[in-house]
Amino acid sequence: MSSAAWLLPAIPFAAALLGALPACRTRPRAAAIALTGATTTALVALLLLPSALDDPTRVRLDRLLIAPAGALQVLAGTRFDSLAAVVAVMVGVVALAVQVYSVGYLHDDLRYPSYAAQVSLFTSAMLLVVVASDLLELLVGWEVMGLCSYLLIGHYRELDYARRAAVKAFLVTRIGDVGMLLGVAVLGTAAGTTDIGELLAAVPRLPHGALVAGSLLLLLGVAGKSAQFPLHVWLPDAMAGPTPISALIHAATMVAAGVYLVARLHPLFLASTVTLDVLALMAAVTMLLGALAAFAQDDLKRLLAWSTTSQLAYMLGALAAGGYDAGLLHLMVHASAKALLFLAAGLVLHAVHTGALSQMRGVARRMPVAALALIVGGLTLAGLPPFAGAWSKDSVLAAMKSAAGGSGPGPDQFEGVLLYLAGLATVLITAAYVARLLLILLAPPAPRGDLHEPRLSMAQSVTALTVTCGVSTFLALPDALPSWLPAPAGAREGIELSVGGVTLTAIGVLAVFAALWLYSHAGARDPVLLLGSSQRRLRSGFGVDALYDRGAVRPTRSVAAAVAETDASAINHAVEGIGRSAVRTSSSLRVVGAGRVRSYLAALIAGVLLVVVSVAVVV
């Protein structure tokens, strides 16, 4: 317990505990605790960063035996290396921004104190995932995060759809989590350990079956948490929560956990081509599905949510293609861009009190902070140079291209090609929905009437994030990251950037922007109309929800009803029937005591005779 990395989850945890105390449930105290916690956490993360980056190959371990169970000795603790340090900084900063922003956003909300505590607990859980040295320990953070997500999505608990969205989020991720637990069990029993370091060291000697099965099951957990097809359905609904939560969980942290896990265990995944194939396919499907659905959305936050799904698929696609640094770079870039977009969207929502895009025409023209944030975040997301998104996206595509070429680590060539094609198509669709978003929000004329001014704390954090996002553009991040985060053996080294690639992408994105601008400018039309009758289909994410309802939810309910009926009628009946039959037998035996002494004597003598005869015969 000597490593300072413990502080990362411990500080927000303490803040959460403090915040849960009855005495601290007034708004100012709660805010003070939450902000102090978040600030300290971010500071610790920043302070720990330099030493971790000094020697990126060094792993600092600090473990404690928490669960000695037979051959399995679970040593929980911290595993702090440059990857953890970088992601911790990301989490810390976003969490701080969200806490600051929330003070304003939930200014009139009576439940702010518990909200703040839940966000603290959430941060703690995410940081536990980041620094965990053991998969079971990681799972603790992983699922506590799910719990916090559930509570925060259900924050507006009077609203039925918010409650349902919360349950759905928890349940769908839980499906993934149970799969992941099973995966940990498979790998853990095969390797005799659940320690991440030892497990990775044991990869070469793991039986192939256990490796494939275990990694596939882990993938289920990743799909759940990172909202990948087929477990992506919870994320769009999760937008029922307060907007800062959408920014925190559903953009920068919780969904990033899946990507982080794949990166953490990259050698394990790279060792199983089957798993990489599945991951590549999953990513390809999800990125297209998400991008198309995002384009068709009518709701600002749902648009961003689908976009997140799609972008996470990008990162996972990169990792599947072996592009370790590319994936992580995109993770960072996307986290800051998406957090920025969500917080900016929150400003807009706060101002117009609706989430419908059709009601937001030109709103941003009167909100300079929000407008700037939207432009910076949007262009980063779309991948237009010189914003960082361009570099990260290009490196991802480059990794996919190599995989499609069949060289180096990655999935089979067929899946590689699919992945690459999907990646390219997604670039264009992404550009399209970003263009649509910006066109609607920035299109003239600016609306009249009152708009809510954003509160200071909200504006502050948005500004701060805008700056971060903008600055990261000019940072030599693409250069620095590979040296900070040395790829594990077997993954693609470094970031491949080609001027040609970036240029081509940029031209494509610009072309899409221009086309849509022309289209919408001509008749002040929403570009979504281009989709025509297929809009509804796309908006619902190709009807996967309805499919699940028909194919899984309802059958389960009817099976449950049948089982409950069987339990009550058959099993219980059988048990009680035995009792009743005893009583019935008792009644029918009444003749034995009918009262006539001569029948008694007859039975007596008959009995004795029977025994005498049978005994005499047997002898």
């Binding site: 008792s586 009644s587 009444r590 003749v591 034995v592 005591g593 009918a594 009262g595 006539r596 002494v597 001569r598 004597l601 007859a602 003598i605």
Partner: protein, 104 residues
Amino acid sequence: MHLAVPLVAGALLFGLGIYGVLARKNAVLVLMAVELMLNAVNLNLIAFGAYLRDRFRTGEVTTLFVVTIAAAEVGVGLAIVLLLYRRRESVDLDRATELREEAA
């Protein structure tokens, strides 16, 4: 005399007694049937005693006991029958069925 003769006679007597116990409704006649059964026992004991030449005369001695037992039984039995008669004015066994399992 062969041993079989008294034994068969005893068995017949015993069977007769059993028949009487089962067939008679009159309590006094049932008592008499029981006496027959006890006399069958006596016959057996005497026969075996003679056959075995038992130096302890067990058979004969036991017969004395059985006779006494029979007398005591008849004494008690008649008293009970009398009691029943005083209450019911009948010694019909089939009418003494007040004590029985109740219908549920």
